[in-house]
Symmetry: C2
């Protein structure tokens, strides 16, 4: 059961983009026609593009090819083709061949050049990639292309996600309304063979590829890189951001601050949905670190707390075990001075400047920790920088899902 209090709002169409999906039976032939597993996002005009990729050194060929294409052709991208069910990773020399074939098929289906196509794959690692099943079915995705098809796009990149993930924002500038819509997939914890996190975001806001990249990188750090996925990154993690605005003939935005805010909101919402759908997750916890010397230090500290199995099991047990949180803080690289550290859970002050608050009682902490959602505030008293990180708890169900055989 995901930690989700209400259904997601329908994603908004983005001018200049059409989206389609197909059911190719990527994972196994008998799923063909039963489950959407191929997404095609087509820009009707040359789109500006930006991307962030996994830091894992074992990265899949699709990541290498995507990075090359963004580097060379960031001002002229026409499509994203993505499949679920097979990561096309860890399969040796054929990996790059299959990855290029997927791009070629996407280009053909979208009616654009291969150099204009970005790809992504997610699913099982180490299995031969069923390129022929995609070749015979991708036409369905082209046939279903439509502006308001974003839910299907989100559906078709799911692996073990229990729900499709999407988010939209709009902002007004120069008398026009611009839209940002994104889809994501991934798990709050780790999926057996498909830990991959994907995010595809489209906008009609007219911004050059160069600026998009400068905007996307820090926002990815504050969103997709600020959720706990067990501290591991996968071989295929990818976020693509495309803008149709300039291709549609609009004038470039000089002031991008509204766009940045809206994009950050979309990215954080997409990232949070991944935590909320984490395997076995029953709690959604925000960790807000303040008083750091810089944002990276704050984020790293937040992540150290967020990935600690000892902290995550305390969440699962509704146990306000602040000793474990201190231990996790002490394990970060930050130059912690214990007598400067304060800790609060929602509005309950636990630790003040390294000392247990005299009014604090275990029951007060337990009450906060027993909620489905709460925030831990950690102040380390070294500076003015802050960061937020989101994580879930570590439960029986997680073990159940992940200790199973792959079959």
């Amino acid at each position: 059961m995901p930690v989700l209090s209400k259904p997601l709002s329908k994603p908004l169409a983005v001018t200049g983009f059409r989206v389609g999906s197909a059911s190719c039976g990527v994972k196994s032939a008998d799923l063909k026609g039963k489950r959407q597993d191929l997404t095609l996002i087509v820009a009707d005009v040359p789109a500006q593009a930006a991307a962030v990729f996994t830091q894992n050194t074992f990265r899949a060929a699709c990541v290498d090819l995507g990075e090359q294409t963004v580097r060379k052709h960031a001002t002229n991208i026409r499509a994203i083709v993505a499949n679920a069910g097979n990561a096309n990773a860890g399969v040796g020399e054929m990996e790059r061949v299959w990855s290029q074939q997927l791009i070629d098929l996407g280009a053909q289906a979208a009616g654009v050049a291969a150099s204009q196509v970005l790809s992504a794959s997610t699913g099982v690692i180490g299995e031969p990639f069923p390129i022929e099943r995609i070749a015979s079915t991708i036409h369905q995705a082209a046939e279903s292309l439509a502006e308001d098809n974003w839910v299907q796009a989100a559906e078709a990149i799911r692996t073990t996600d229990t729900f499709a993930k999407f988010a939209s924002r709009q902002f007004e500038q120069n008398g026009k309304t611009y839209t940002i819509t994104g889809v994501s997939k991934g798990s709050g914890m780790i999926h057996p063979n498909m830990a991959t996190m994907l995010g595809f975001i489209a906008t009609d806001a007219p911004i050059s590829a160069e600026k998009l990249q400068a905007i996307l990188s820090p926002i990815a750090d504050r969103s997709f890189n600020s959720i706990s996925v067990d501290g591991d990154t996968s071989t295929n993690d990818t976020v693509y951001l495309l803008s149709s605005g300039l291709g549609l003939g609009d004038t470039e935005l000089n002031d991008t601050s509204d766009f940045e805010q809206a994009l950050q909101d979309v990215a954080i919402e997409l990232a949070q949905l991944i935590v909320r759908d984490g395997e076995g997750v029953t709690k959604f916890v925000t960790i807000e670190v303040t008083g750091a010397e810089n944002e990276t230090q704050a984020r790293t500290l937040g992540r150290t707390i967020a990935v600690s199995p000892l902290v995550k099991t305390a969440f699962a047990g509704s146990d306000a075990n602040w000793g474990r949180i201190l231990m996790a803080i002490g394990n970060s690289d930050a130059p912690i001075q214990p007598d400067k550290v304060s800790l609060r859970a929602d509005d309950v002050l636990i630790l003040e400047h390294g000392n247990l608050h005299p009014d604090y009682k275990d029951e007060m902490g337990m009450k906060v920790f027993s909620q489905q959602e709460f925030t831990l505030f950690v102040d380390i008293g070294l500076g003015d920088a802050s960061a937020k990180v989101w994580t879930g708890d570590l439960t029986h169900e997680y073990i159940e899902i992940n200790a199973e055989y792959r079959t």
Copy 2:
């Protein structure tokens, strides 16, 4: 159920050391007389001392005091006093006072000066330290001092350890037989509030404090720092090494190679016992990394694999999920070149130079992973350095133990 195929051999007495224990009811007064929770190790002569401590920045006062004492008085140590049941950590300003009081009580009981006493505490974090219960009972430990009492010493530092941990080795040099005996406590995974790892090792081999320290540090890296304790270090982790040899009038060993080998064997055995007793652990896995540029790189890579929840749950499920292992390798800091990486499980070659071995079949890997003990060999093909790391699996029982309330 710990992963232990046979009972431990009785630890050997070490000339110049006597050991005693007491039941103080440190954790709660009603445990007094029911469970040993205070250990006193007394050197009959001034002992040479070396130590390694936790790298956690939230370190307990006993660690600060121990480090100071070893720095100032490493050639004249007479006792170690250690308690289980309360870590005397995270309790603010009284921590240092209580820690010094424990040292004073140990000195009094052993009939030596406080400057000659090292202390260690393990147990619950953030609870007031019951110094008065120790004060009224520590005389029992002094009264029970005996050369062959090492099992009791190991018993009395247990927290949630399911068995007492000890190991001995002897070596001959210059016509004499020297003995090394050590005790340890800790969990292969994390204990609710007492993740602390302690190790106390005594020897009659005549070696100066300075040499002991130079020998202990790298050996601690190859033993206590090469086991998976969830990637977290605690506030109180401590290893003390004492030698009575010079105090007993023996001549210093010029060649310490036999001593180093024997000490490393003892330290590795004590460290492995911690993994074997890990919470919920049903498998004991050795990860041997070869082909690294240096030993630290090899160890760091081994640890990255060893702490990954995704790898640990694969172990639990007897799932030879090599994709997860690759992912963990790719998450290390090592400059991995995928086409140089080979992976073997016991004698089954899975991956050779980045490609799945043509003869490999899932069943072969599953057979290895379904054993209670096995070894993963990871070669990264960058150099000649190697390291071994030991870890367990991540099971339901772990969650059960750690998600419980502290009460």
